[in-house]
């Protein structure tokens, strides 16, 4: 029997569900229960003189919150340490997302909506920043892979680069009979095209200064004076440039989506470290200097 259970683990279609719906939204329900209990307690307990971190309720929420923050930040370790035991990183991520969101409620209730210009509110602010970046991350993880897959089709990044390289070679070949000014247009594309561009380019997917696009525009300007069909080489260059532009666009869409899938981590992770530092300062200052 044990053997059969193990086999089921190895291949089981019913386990085929995304991280957000893992175990029938198990962690969503846990998080909702945690939030509901906290809110109910906040409303029912009449804190004196007014709700804030220093009350018994505040201490309890603070402890829960601090433990949650530490546990949530351990996700980075869990992801990278591959142990042989039974665990599912997907379940961890599911818990990470929903419990992380519940922290917004717990942290706010812990503070009793009491903010100021101090290390305590700094820790709160950092926490919110981490959670908001995480919300973007969860959204990105849930929505973007589909777009990535659609855009990619059956091709890979390496193939696009190959295609672009081969188109460049063909462009150089095709440019041989052209005069200097026209050849310079081709060189604009073959020598100056920056595929990935700046961070802003990557995130927006807009490449207003794309050299290949400029080459196409220049060529269109020339075409206005020399009608199509009169210069075969120029027409061939034009066709090649347009094919290159299409491949570039596909590669850049891929880059854009991949950047969006990663960019938030550049806020999420460093700010988490800042949060841990601020949290430590917050706890120490509360207990030693309050």
């Amino acid at each position: 029997m044990a053997k059969q259970v193990r086999q089921a683990n190895r291949s089981d279609v019913r386990k085929h569900e995304g991280f957000l719906r893992d175990g029938n939204f198990r962690w969503l329900w846990v998080a909702l229960a945690l939030c509901a209990t906290s809110i109910a307690a906040y409303v029912m307990i009449d804190a004196e003189p007014r709700p804030r971190g220093g009350t018994m309720y505040g201490y309890i929420m603070g402890t829960i919150g601090a433990l949650l923050i530490v546990w949530l930040s351990l996700f980075g370790i869990r992801k990278r340490v591959i142990t042989s035991g039974v665990y599912s990183l997907k379940a961890w991520l599911s818990a990470h997302v929903y419990l992380g969101l519940s922290l917004l409620v717990i942290g706010t209730l812990h503070a009793g909506l009491h903010f100021g210009w101090n290390v305590h509110t700094l820790a709160y602010g950092l926490m919110v920043l981490v959670i908001v970046s995480g919300m973007f991350g969860a959204y990105a993880y849930a929505v973007l892979p589909r777009e990535l897959s659609l855009n990619r089709g059956e091709t890979t990044q390496r193939q696009w680069l190959e295609t672009i390289r081969s188109l460049d070679a063909q462009l150089r070949e095709a440019a041989q009979p052209l005069d200097r000014a026209e050849a310079d247009i081709v060189r604009l594309s073959t020598e100056q095209t920056d595929i990935s561009g700046s961070l802003l380019n990557r995130l927006t997917g807009q490449y207003p200064n794309c050299s290949t696009q400029r080459a196409i525009n220049e060529l269109a300007r020339i075409h206005r004076s020399t009608p199509r069909g009169s210069n075969a080489s120029l027409d061939q260059v034009d066709a090649l440039l347009k094919r290159k532009q299409e491949t570039l666009a596909q590669a850049r869409r891929n880059i854009r989506i991949k950047s969006l899938l990663q960019i938030w981590l550049y806020i999420h992770v460093p700010v988490t470290f800042a949060l841990l530092a601020a949290l430590t300062a917050h706890i120490i200052s509360v207990f030693f200097y309050w």
Binding site: K3, Q4, R6, Q7, N9, R10, S11, D12, V13, R14, K15, H16, E17, G18, F19, D22, I77, K79, R80, V81, I82, T83, S84, G85, V86, Y87, S88, L89, K90, W92, L93, A140, Y141, L144, P145, R146, L148, S149, L150, R152, G153, E154, T156, Q157, K258, L261
Partner: protein, 815 residues
Amino acid sequence: MTDKFRIAIVGSGPAGLSAAAHAAKIGVSHILLEKTDHLSDTIYRYQKKKYVMAAPPQLVLRADVGFEAGYRETILDVWNQGVAAAGANVRYNAEVKAVTGEKGDFTLTLTNGDTVRAETIVMAIGLQGNPNLMRCPGGDLPHVQYQLDDPTEYIDEHIFVIGAGDAGIENALGLAADPAQANVVGIVNRSADFSRAKDANVANLMNARDAGRVSTFTEASPSKVEPGWITLELPDGETRLRCDRIIARLGASAPRKFVESMGIEFSSASKDAYPKLTPNLETTAPGIYVIGALAGYPLIKNCMNQGHDVVEFINGNIGLAPADEPFLAKKLQHLPGEKSVSEWAEFLRDKVEILNGLSLLQMREYLVDSEVRFYRTDEVIFEKNSIGSSLFGIASGSVKVEINPKDPSITVPIGTGSIFGEVGLISGRRRGATIRAAEDTIAIEIPRKLALALRASVQEARETIERITTERGILQIFGSGLSPADIRDVLAKAEVKEIKPGEAIIREGEENYDIFIIRRGSMLVEREIAGKPVFLSYIPAGQVTGEMALVEGGRRIATVRAAVRSEVIRLDGNLFRVLLNRKPELVARLRSDMSSRRKINEFLEQQKGSITGVLDYYNSVARFLVEQGVGEATDVLLIDERLCVGCDNCEKACADSHDGISRLDREAGRTYANLHVPTSCRHCEHPHCMTDCGPNAIHRGPDGEVFIDDTCIACGNCERFCPYGVIRMEKVPPKKPGLIPWLLFGAGPGPGEPDDAWKVAHAGHGSSQKKATKCDMCSGKKGGPACVRACPTGAAIRVSPENFLSVALLDRGRE
């Protein structure tokens, strides 16, 4: 030459040269007669730099000349030196034409007219010296050759290779390999497909054909050879083509006439029979001994041992135990009853039906790789659903098969002499039932590879296995209540058929009631809906199909075709109907088995008018998956690209749980409808990688995983055979610093497989030996496959075809 030698050894292959070296060593007068001007012509003629294996590994070498696995050149050097050092008396260019005389005074006449006199003769001529010849007119012309030593020798020629076995294909590819040689190469194959050759060779040949480097002629045979021309008989008539050279690779066989002329009898009239031998290797002609490939021992190590032994026997050391004696004695010592190794060998051969056709020497050889076990009454021999592909033969006692998992008391007996476990042998699937010893039992367990060899080489064994498997297949599938007597009529007309991929065994709308048992491979069921064939389900080996029409009446409602090359047993529908009429409980059982299929059918009927999109989706995805090899898989990694964020954590997890080498490439592989099949092992039902593993290092493990053990010699055969490119030859990389030093101080390359630069920079700490690496399904790890565990979004899933090529896929389409 008037001197009389004690021993004349004919043929200087591994067996002959070992015999000569040993005779020289112990001072027995001898002469080694070699047809050519060098030792061991067969190995000499291997293609340059060929790697020669030293199997079987358990067998110790007992010869005065060394031998271990290595390149052709090295081995030949060792032998030449060994024979010279031993001071063996070798006579080259001495081909024996005739043998006369009797024990104590033989006369061997050579082709040059010389004679050699000897008291005894050791025939070690092998088979390769006797290639099958071309029989058409002109086949004896000088430009017809039976060997190709160095394919780079020929330039700018029109060359035909006749015969499309491995040797022929390798020659053709060798000749066409370098376009600079400008050879025009054709290969002529008598049959329509290249089924005799290894898959990898066939694939390479097809590539070469598609690239225009080799022309292939199938269902063709040469009908006439003239200088500069060849005439081929093709299905649509004769054609005369330019041809400067013919390389005929038509196989080799024992030069039977010559051997029989000495008074040596063969074991049977069949083409693959060997001479009858005593345990001391003596033939039916007293004084003449046969060793090596001619005796039925193609392995070099065996040949060399026999060379040593035969000299000892002739020298009077009749009691000399064969080289495998200590090994076998140890293996058999736990068995009850004080028997010697030879007594055990004889006992097993005589008791177990499929082994009856073996000589005692062959039996010993089978014992080397087999296990003989003793089971007490009620001891479990194997459990249902366990993995195992070996074949058992019952030498004494009997066993009982638990045919009903819910009630172990219902059993079917199998008696002495019969076999069991044969289903795993044919289908490579799990054991179908638990088997216990019914009384104290002695059984021999023969590993799959050996059992297949037995089936291929010994006709009696083949027929016995065939008959038993068919009968069992029927009884097992149709379950309780049937006895062998019930199915005797059905069995008598049962027919085993090989089905090509894509070939249909049942066609929709047909009026036919035959039933098919899928013995090997797998089938796809499809129906025509709205003018399009729609994929219905997948039937793995070990199941039955076609019974619906028989039970329910009416025409065939679906088409069943082979997904991969398969083997089925066809049972006559009318005879089966008679059986059903007698056994109403069988009808009830078949009806209940069909209910799930009926559900799919009903579902499809409902969908028919409305959402053809869902059907199209299901259909095309199923086809894509089958194309990607999922049809022959037992467990495959899929990535749902709707969830995959491309973090490559699966690859990193794989590397970190397997010596730092990832066994999967996520991005590579094909994608269809958001479903990505990465480059990762599918654990095929019939693993291609196992096809030609020299050290037999590839096995199927307890969870169904196909894995490679440490005896791998990195020959790369498995890598070439795998059609999915999932095996890599890799060194184990140096050990990395841990995670914390990496996190805090950036030490080492971090999680996952280190890049090449780092590996090179830190080389010296890791292993220097390359090894074939592939997915082992994280066998032995409690949590299961690391790739799935480590996927943060749930994109990575492992599936087996039965559960994926099913309604689950339809649900996915509806989402």
